[in-house]
């Protein structure tokens, strides 16, 4: 959902360079955290989830430029670091086939990569009190909402808010630029986040029955 799909040349180069720098740091840390034979055994799971993300991202939901991500599911199944790497993998392939800019790859991965991290920790924290599917659903909803607002925040911070404000009813709400953008995008973000949260909860319930060892908290 929060996948920016921005073309190259829209955002200022400082923002793009910062995105790439953060991505390189993230990949370096993720590479160190996922070394060793135990981590290597997760490679098939990692690849299957990255492939599932790639397929989910390639299918728009109707005429709207939005789609499912499955990043939160990757976090719940693989853990935060593997999940973030799966997001990078899916984003890189998408960028190579022209879906989302190459220069925005860093920013896209940082924003979308926050989904597995947030979803994993929500799932871990809530999983002790609630059932696994419910914890997964709430984790997904939280992660998608946060990452979508992060994407909107990046656009607002990049100085495009004034054009947006001419077109969405932000003035009606009487809010400042970033808040106005966030308010305008709210219904769409919530709609897609709810669909993906329900799907993730269902998948977690199913996988917990069939192969509970796949879940990251096991």
């Amino acid at each position: 959902m929060s996948h920016l799909h921005l073309p190259d040349g829209l955002l200022p180069w400082q923002v793009l360079v910062a995105g790439w720098a953060l991505l390189l740091v993230m990949l370096h840390i993720a590479g160190r955290r996922t070394s060793g034979p135990a981590a290597r055994r997760k490679l098939p799971e990692f690849a299957a989830l990255a492939a599932a993300m790639l397929l989910a991202m390639a299918v728009p939901l109707g005429p709207l430029p939005i789609h499912l991500n499955l990043g939160a599911l990757a976090g719940i199944l693989l853990g935060p670091w593997f999940g973030a790497m799966a997001v990078f993998t899916a984003n890189l392939f998408m960028a190579l086939v022209g879906h989302g800019g190459i220069t925005v790859l860093g920013l896209n991965t940082i924003i979308t990569g926050s989904e597995p991290v947030v979803a994993y920790w929500c799932y871990r924290l809530l999983g002790t009190r609630l059932s696994r599917p419910v914890a997964a659903g709430i984790g997904t909803l939280t992660a998608l909402s946060l990452s979508s607002y992060a994407a909107v925040g990046v656009l607002a911070a990049a100085g495009h808010a004034e054009h947006w404000l001419d077109r969405v009813p932000a003035q009606v709400f009487g809010l400042t630029a970033p808040l106005g953008m966030a308010a305008g995008a709210l219904p769409l973000i919530l709609l897609v986040a709810c669909v993906e949260a329900a799907l993730t909860a269902g998948l977690v319930a199913y996988l917990a029955r069939l192969r509970p060892g796949l879940l990251a908290d096991r």
């Binding site: 799909h5 921005l6 073309p7 190259d8 040349g9 829209l10 990949l27 370096h28 993720a30 590479g31 996922t34 070394s35 981590a39 290597r40 055994r41 490679l43 098939p44 799971e45 990692f46 690849a47 299957a48 989830l49 990255a50 492939a51 599932a52 790639l54 397929l55 390639a58 728009p60 005429p63 430029p65 790497m85 799966a86 990078f88 993998t89 899916a90 890189l92 392939f93 960028a95 190579l96 086939v97 022209g98 879906h99 989302g100 800019g101 190459i102 220069t103 495009h160 054009h163 947006w164 077109r167 329900a198 799907l199 269902g202 998948l203 199913y206 996988l207 069939l210 192969r211 796949l214």
Partner: protein, 232 residues
């Protein structure tokens, strides 16, 4: 995404296919740089002419590339209409998007995926590179598994698959089963690789050969124009 079609194109024998993958990366970077900094329709047009030449040199499959390049247009149109202050700027933005998409498509349509990922191997953690390679294979496995599963469900249910798609539980179960079977198939492949002594670095062996001249020469024109603009 038509990955299979791109795979087929990448196995062609055009002049760009025979060039060195690293040189094609540099060419793509040059094209993207030119596309991103095209500040006028004339600059975008000049970059388009060079890209068209590269597309022709990519050999057969220009029409497949054309079709694929249209895919992100819907997404880009929304952003263009929202962010560009006028229609002229929106059109220029869309032209930039298309130029950028053509740049990456020419790379992926003239270079096998193993070579595309092989260039990245020294730059990324080995686990990520192997993950990229396995992910690519897994996409096809997932697609095939999903197709077979839906066919089986349709045959057993005796109705069209659309009816099953309307059933959320059935949809979740089908997705979970496809995912699980892909994971299990991947685990079996991984075990087989480990028995043969695999310990990360599937793509450590780089493909060699191919020339530098054509890709670098092609990217010289748009990159040179960008540099001249900066110097002025």
């Amino acid at each position: 995404m038509e990955l299979a079609a791109l795979d087929g194109l990448a196995r062609g024998g055009g002049p760009l296919h025979r060039s060195r993958p690293a040189a094609k990366y540099l060419m793509t970077a040059g094209f993207i740089c030119a596309a991103a900094s095209a500040a006028s329709p004339a600059a975008a047009g000049r970059a388009a002419v060079v890209l068209l030449l590269a597309a022709v040199l990519a050999g057969r499959g220009v029409f497949t590339l054309w079709r694929l390049a249209l895919y992100p247009l819907g997404f880009a149109a929304v952003y263009s209409l929202v962010f560009a202050p006028g229609l002229g700027e929106a059109a220029l933005l869309l032209a930039r998007v298309e130029l950028m998409v053509w740049s990456t498509l020419i790379l992926i349509a003239t270079t096998p995926v193993a070579d595309v990922l092989g260039v990245l191997a020294p730059l990324l953690p080995a686990l990520v590179v192997d993950g990229l390679y396995l992910t690519y294979r897994m996409v096809f496995r997932l697609l095939r598994g999903e197709e077979q599963l839906w066919q089986a469900m349709r045959l057993r249910a005796g109705g069209p698959s659309r009816m099953l798609a309307r059933d959320p539980e059935g949809f979740v179960a089908a997705t979970a089963v496809s995912l699980l079977s892909a994971i299990e198939a991947g685990e079996r492949s991984h075990q087989a690789l480990e028995l043969r002594g695999y310990s990360l670095g599937l793509l450590r062996t780089q493909t060699a050969g191919g020339g530098w001249l054509l890709p670098i020469g092609l990217s010289c024109f748009p990159v040179g124009e960008v540099l001249l603009r900066w110097l002025r």
